[in-house]
């Protein structure tokens, strides 16, 4: 596991990043491009602030997702993830 007390996690981006999606993104499974581990987005390590979001693999530290929002336009860089897996189950409530 990567040790860094500054980070929180992907749960916190449900609001700022999730508003661009029609589903709850914290349950989306992310497959790491470096170590191939599979984690829910909510469990990834979060760096950055309200403008730029960096989500890293809990196991190897690889940057899985980068998100940048400028004036309501979201740019998502997902080259650190080989796959994103979504479940079509109904959103909570």
């Amino acid at each position: 596991m990567i040790e860094d007390a500054r980070a929180s996690d992907g749960n916190a981006v449900a609001g700022p990043l999730g508003r661009f999606f029609a589903f709850d993104i914290t349950r989306m499974m992310v497959i790491c491009a470096k170590c191939a581990s599979e984690s829910p987005l909510g469990a990834l390590r979060l760096y950055g602030d309200q403008m730029g979001i960096v989500l890293r693999c809990v196991h190897c530290g690889e940057v899985n997702l980068r998100a940048l929002e400028v004036k309501g336009v979201l740019s998502l860089d997902a080259r650190g993830a080989t796959r994103l897996i979504l479940h079509s189950t109904v959103d909570p409530l």
């Binding site: 007390a5 749960n11 829910p40």
Partner: protein, 246 residues
């Protein structure tokens, strides 16, 4: 799920500890929430500067008229000092939610419920316990709660009451910075031995929820894996020292 900001009106305020306050909001457009979900709170200053923070919902799940958040005052924080000291009954603030579907628990889940909290990480876990208490069929549940000092234990009297109901809930508390003379709980940080002693064995296939500061959550999650729990049976929520969460 409501993705837009809505106006929340302060309906009640309750001090939990000297630095922790619970605030109940009335939300006309609230669609209900799951235990473990959070809301984002946005403050805007007169000159337009905005600050957003996430706070876990403390009240039980469902379509309730009011929702509660419990906020710990971070001395140099941008949002929590306002929420815990200045916000008054009848005031309105901007709020977005409910948010997050990963760190959630539903009362129809029959698996043993293992809750492990560090400090104000108790808040979303309290929502789960309160949701469980309202449910018809309650799975066995345990809470292992680490606090710095006795006076900083949030929801102390309610937790003590829950233990006396004998409905399959048990509580173990660890104090890391000194304890009262008559203290019968643990007096050190949560470690592998403590987890082995107080958590459900992996063979019972419990669902484990861990919430607290980043280092606490990392340690606990690692030790749970070492005790044989599947990674997908361990759900985590972390907050950093500057994250001002909860």
């Amino acid at each position: 799920m409501l993705r837009d900001w809505q106006l929340a009106t302060v309906a009640a305020i309750r001090d939990e500890t000297p630095s922790v306050r619970t605030i109940a909001f009335s939300l006309p457009q609230w669609t209900g929430h799951l235990a473990g979900q959070h809301v984002d709170v946005r403050l805007t200053t007169d000159d337009g500067y905005q600050a957003e923070r996430s706070y876990s919902i403390a009240s039980p799940s469902g379509r309730t008229a009011l929702i509660e958040i419990t906020v710990e005052r971070i001395a140099d924080g941008e949002v929590s000092p306002f929420l815990t000291a200045q916000l008054a009954l009848g005031d309105t603030i901007e709020l977005r939610g409910p948010l997050g579907g990963y760190f959630t628990w539903r009362p129809d889940n029959p698996a043993p419920l293992m809750l492990i909290a560090g400090g104000s990480g108790i808040v979303p876990l309290m929502s789960m316990l309160r949701t469980r208490t309202k449910a018809a069929n309650r799975p066995p549940a345990r809470l292992l709660y680490s606090s710095r000092q006795f006076e900083e234990i949030i929801y102390r009297s309610e937790l003590d009451r829950l233990v006396t109901t004998n409905d399959g809930f048990s509580l173990n508390t660890a104090l890391t910075r000194g304890a009262p003379a008559n203290w019968s709980g643990e007096t050190r940080r949560v470690d592998g031995d403590m987890l082995a002693k107080y958590t459900f064995p992996a063979a019972q296939a419990p669902h484990n929820f861990v919430c607290g500061p980043t280092s606490f959550v990392e340690t606990v999650a690692d030790r749970l894996v070492a005790l044989g729990h599947q990674e997908n049976a361990i759900k985590t929520e972390r907050f950093g020292p500057t994250g001002e969460k909860r």
